[in-house]
Structures are given as structure tokens and as C-alpha cells.
Amino acid sequence: MHLLYQIFIDPFMQMGQAPDLLVQTLWEGLVGGVLYALIALGFVLIFKASGVFNFAQGIMMVFAALTLVGLYEKGVPAPLALLLAIGVMYLLALGVERVVLRPLVNQPDIMLFMATFGLTYILIGAGQLVFGGDPKEMPVAALGLPKGAIDLKILGGLVSLQKIDIAAAIIASIMVAGLAVFFQKTRIGRALRAVADDHQAALSVGISLNQIWVIVWFTAGIVALATGIMWGARSDVSFALQVISLKALPVLILGGFTSVPGAIVGGLIIGIGEKLGEFYWGPLVGGGIESWLAYAIALAFLLFKPEGLFGEKIIERI
């Protein structure tokens, strides 16, 4: 009885008694969710255009941020470091297309999936080899991003919003809108959608697959860089962020692998869900449930709605 009370009643009582804490938790979850959504967005871009389930997307985020910070620490001015980091992501896209995608085209999806594991390890090794494995601080001010917090007095308490988080939410929205326009309105965007539908048909109307793949991986790289800057500003930049980047996987399961809105909604659900769960239900079992709650939510979805919130239902044919 007591247990049931603790699970089903007590947390909601707490929410009601301290609404400011609830708002604070929701906000934290929202910001986390936006960042998860951005990582997931990179996955979706690549999956749509090349059918590759890019396990390395999270690591690309860390790698991009590490490149930026590493260059800055070596004395490169922040704006130049940013440009160089973008350049590195372009080279990475070129390299991936050359070394991974081109030889593995038409292989089973699962091969490409496993190839991205190899990519993950190469990026971890290379990033640390060049810039060192110690955690680094993101030069927030030098990049022209706001620092500090806004304290709101509401609901009889104090809610503290980090300015960088607000900036993150705004930048994320702009990026999503930009990508939507890019997909719908530009020639390359249309080519991308064509490739996503049918590789061979796209080839036959004169779309260059190789070029499209470079563009997609580069776009995903830029998304990764932006995400990396935001995460880096919230904590330090190091490959410990890898665990966070894996959280984007349950987001994908919720949203479906091919849906941009799905990635966003899924990201928000996971972000908010795990913060609420940790804060209100975590203490019941000793805390730390943030590390697996997202996967448990995803697993429940897989069992009852395997195609995700926005994914397409698949009819098996033989």
C-alpha cells in the first residue's frame, strides 16, 4: 500500500506543493530534449538519404565540438576555429562517402550499421589523439553565446533559466525550420527526397548519389557541431558525452527513423520524461534511473507501437 502511495500519489503531491520545482524540472527536461532531438535529427537526415543507420552520429557531435574547442585552445580565434571545425566536418563527409559508403553500397543495411561502429571508434581515437582525452571547456563567450541565468519569480518560487539553454532552443528551432525549407524548396532537397525513396530510380534520372551523400553527411555534421556546442556549454567537452549521445537512439524509436517532426517530438518526450522520472520517482529506487529510463520508454514503445509515433507501417511482402 505504502509503495503504491509512493509511486502513484506522492510524486504528484510534490508537484502540486512546489510548482516552481516542477517548472524548473520541466524546463531542464525540455532543453535536454531539444538537444536529443538535434542528435536524432542528424540520424534521420542520414537515414532518409542513404538508408544508413548512423550509429556514429553522437560521436560526430563530440568530435565536432572537440575539434572546435581543441583548435581554440591551440590559439586559433573562436570564429576561425568554428569555420575550421565546419571544414573538418566537410572533410569527414567526403571521407565517409569515399571510404565507407561507396564500397559498401548495396550491401545489407546491417553491414552499413556495423561500419558506423568502426567509424565511431576511429573518430574517438582520432579526436583524442589530436586534441587529448582530458575534458575541455567550451569558449562560450568567445563564440558570442550568452552566459549566465535569468531568474524568474513565479508560482511562489524561483525558476532559473540558463541563457545558453534559451539560445539552444532558439538555434535548434531555426535549424529545424531551415532544414525543412532546404528539403522542401531547394533542388538539392528534392533530389535528397528522391534518393531516399529509391536509390536506383534517382540514379536513373541523373542524380549523383555520391554528391548527395556528401551533402547529407555534411549537413548532419553541421547539425552535430551545433549540438556539440550546446552540450559543451552545459558541461565539458569530452568523450564522456558519448553516453548522452546514445540517448538519441530511444528518441528515434519513438519518432520513427524517417520523420523529422518525430525526432523533435520524440526528443522532447524523452528529455522531459527522464527528468521528471529521475526527480520524482528516481529516489524510490536509489536514483540514477536517468541512465536507462529513456531505453525503457523506447522498449515499451517497440512492443506496442513498433513503427514509432510517426513512422510508416510496414507490410511484409513475399
Binding site: 565507407v100 546491417i110 576511429i122 541512465s291 522498449l299 513498433p306
Partner: protein, 358 residues
């Protein structure tokens, strides 16, 4: 020339259905066993036995388990590390609760515990496959790892959070704990690994293995042959987790002597996956090749530059190991998706026709 099957006629299907139908293979196997049981103990030093051979055998056993799941049944798991952890913690718990029972019994029993947990987490595999299943197994990985940290009962509330192995004996000889000699531990591990490899080989070459491979290659056709997917997949999860569990118990009790939850983290799962990919999907000998390569690679990267007169820090060596491992995975996926095991077959084929390739 040396590897010819010419003149070896089989007069019964029994002879042709044997697992090693070719005489040279049987001789080769006998040689390998002789080297493992007699040769290595004779020539190998303490380092060779304790830090190379024992880890190699333990990892190979876990890789066989994972290969049954991925290579034979086509189900991707990213949670093998955690299932090894289940075996390790189960063995620790059982052997501290009932210290009088023989430790070998508990090692097998901990495999069974891991097997049960594996079946539980394998249940979603009926409805989901491919990437989706890979992500679902991450749930197992992170949840189980959390249990190893947060559930104090599992490590007897040891303040350090680690599990430490007490002394256990077999026929009066210490085989676990600080006083156990590396050679004794090596023989125990080797015997278990050989027996379990033999079982795995029998399973994958018989009806059960064919059913697994049928599910892997074309699950719809398999169903229409009368193979039921859920039992076949759950059996693969069960056997695979059993192997991982025993490997985990061996890892803590006969190799490391103590372990923290970190030993069973996601990286351990990745490393095992890499062993399977590089060694060869769907090949038992590949699991040994993969384990050898991935385990020995860091040792080589650490020591080779010294031998050449270059000095690199241990951090650099670690980073290089990452890059080389990643590169090897790409190399094998692109050039030889069947891994080292396939290269081995090609070598055998070359030997068969040597010296007249036409």
C-alpha cells in the same frame, strides 16, 4: 598438397555428416588441443598464461555466445557486456551465500541465471529486429549496469562497490582467489572453454543451428518451413546469454579476481561485437580469431613502438588502438565481410591446390 581430401572416400552418410569430415582438420584440431594443454604451459611464462591466454579464452567464450546471436541467428545485441556482468554477479552472490558448494557448480549456475535474464530481454525480438533490436538491447545494457551499481545486495554492500573473489578450491587445489596459481586457473578456463566450444559446435551443426540460420537468412521462409520464430530466437538468446554469463563468471573469478560495475559497461559490449565482426560472423573459429586479435592488438600497440625505439605514452597507445580497431572493422566489412574465418578458409583452399593451382 598438404591439405588434400583426395582419396578420403566416405562410405556412409555418418562419416560425411561429421563436423570435421576431412582428416587434416581432425589432425589440426588435435594439434591445437595439444599445444593448448601441453605446449603453452611448458613454454609460456606467467605473463603469457595470466595476461594473454586466460583473457583470450574468456573473451573467446563470450564472443562465441554473441556470435550465436548475431552470426547464426541474425539478432544484434549491444548488451553482451551486461550479460557477462549478470554471470559475474550471480556467481559472486551464489558463491558467497553458499561457499561450501563447489565453485564450478556456481559458474555453471550463474550461466543459467544469465540465460534467464537473457530470455527476458530477448522477448521483444519477436516483434522487432535489426537496428530496433540493437537499441532494445541497450535497455538491457544500461538497466543491468545500473543494477550492478545501485543494488547493494548484489555486491554484499561492499563499500568499494566492487566484487572480490574469495578462495575456492577444486580437488583441494586453489583455483580462485589470490593464492590460485595462473597455471591452475588456465587449465580450469581452458577445460571449460573447450567443452563449451564443443557443445556450441554440435548445436550449430545440427537441427537447432540450421533453424537459427534459417531465421537469420529468411525468417518468412523459415516460418513456412514450420520453424517457430519466437522459440528459435529465445533459444538463441538463452544459449548466447548462458555463454556470456559463464564467460563473465570466469572473467571475474579466474582472470581478474575482482571487478567493478564499469567492467561490464557498453564498451565491453562493443569490443565483443568487434571480435565477432572481425573474426567472422557465423563462425566459431572466427570467435577465437577475433578475440585473439582484439585482445592482443592493444598489447602490440603498447609494446611495438618501444621495440622500434619510439616511445609513445600509454594514452596515445590507447587512442591508436581505437583508430586501428575502427579501421579493422571497416576493412573487414568492406573487403572480407566473413572476417578472419573466411581468410582462414581461403588459406586452406590455397593449401589444398598447392603447388599446382590449376
Amino acid at each position: 598438397m598438404f591439405y588434400r581430401e583426395v582419396g578420403q572416400f566416405k562410405t556412409s552418410y555418418a562419416a560425411d555428416q561429421a563436423i570435421f569430415p576431412i582428416r587434416q582438420d581432425r589432425i589440426g584440431l588435435a594439434l591445437i588441443l595439444a599445444v593448448a594443454f601441453i605446449g603453452i604451459p611448458l613454454v609460456g611464462g606467467e605473463f603469457m598464461i595470466a595476461s594473454v591466454m586466460i583473457p583470450f579464452l574468456v573473451l573467446a567464450l563470450a564472443a562465441i555466445g554473441l556470435n550465436i546471436l548475431i552470426g547464426y541467428t541474425g539478432l544484434i545485441s549491444l548488451g553482451t557486456g551486461a550479460f557477462m556482468g549478470v554471470g559475474a554477479y550471480a556467481c559472486y552472490k551464489l558463491s558467497t551465500l553458499f561457499p561450501q558448494v563447489n565453485i564450478i557448480v556456481w559458474i555453471i549456475a550463474s550461466g543459467l541465471v544469465s540465460c534467464a535474464v537473457g530470455v527476458l530481454f530477448g522477448l521483444p525480438s519477436l516483434r522487432i529486429k535489426g537496428f530496433y533490436l540493437a537499441i532494445a538491447t541497450l535497455a538491457a545494457q544500461f538497466f543491468l549496469q545500473w543494477c550492478f551499481v545501485r543494488v547493494g545486495w548484489l555486491y554484499n554492500n561492499n563499500p568499494s562497490g566492487a566484487i572480490e573473489v574469495p578462495l575456492h578450491t577444486l580437488f583441494g587445489i586453489p583455483i580462485t582467489g589470490a593464492t590460485a596459481k595462473p597455471l591452475t586457473r588456465y587449465y580450469v578456463v581452458l577445460t571449460i572453454v573447450v567443452v563449451m566450444t564443443w557443445f556450441a559446435s554440435n548445436l550449430v551443426h545440427g537441427r537447432i543451428g540450421r533453424n537459427w540460420m534459417a531465421v537469420r537468412d529468411m525468417d518468412i521462409a523459415a516460418q513456412l518451413m514450420g520453424i517457430r520464430l519466437l522459440p528459435a530466437k529465445l533459444l538463441a538468446f538463452a544459449v548466447s546469454s548462458f555463454y556470456a554469463g559463464v564467460a563473465g563468471a570466469l572473467m571475474v573469478f579466474l582472470w581478474l579476481g575482482a571487478a567493478e560495475p564499469e567492467a561490464f559497461n557498453i564498451n565491453e559490449s562493443f569490443v565483443l561485437l568487434f571480435m565477432v565482426i572481425i573474426g567472422g560472423l557465423g563462425s566459431l573459429i572466427g570467435a577465437f580469431f577475433g578475440a585473439a586479435l582484439i585482445h592482443i592488438l592493444p598489447i602490440i600497440v603498447r609494446t611495438a613502438p618501444d621495440a622500434l625505439g619510439l616511445s609513445i605514452g600509454s594514452a596515445t597507445a590507447e587512442h591508436l588502438t581505437y583508430i586501428i580497431t575502427g579501421g579493422l572493422i571497416l576493412f573487414f566489412l568492406i573487403v572480407e565481410p566473413h572476417g578472419l574465418a573466411r581468410l582462414w578458409q581461403i588459406a586452406k583452399q590455397k593449401l589444398r591446390v598447392w603447388p599446382f593451382p590449376y
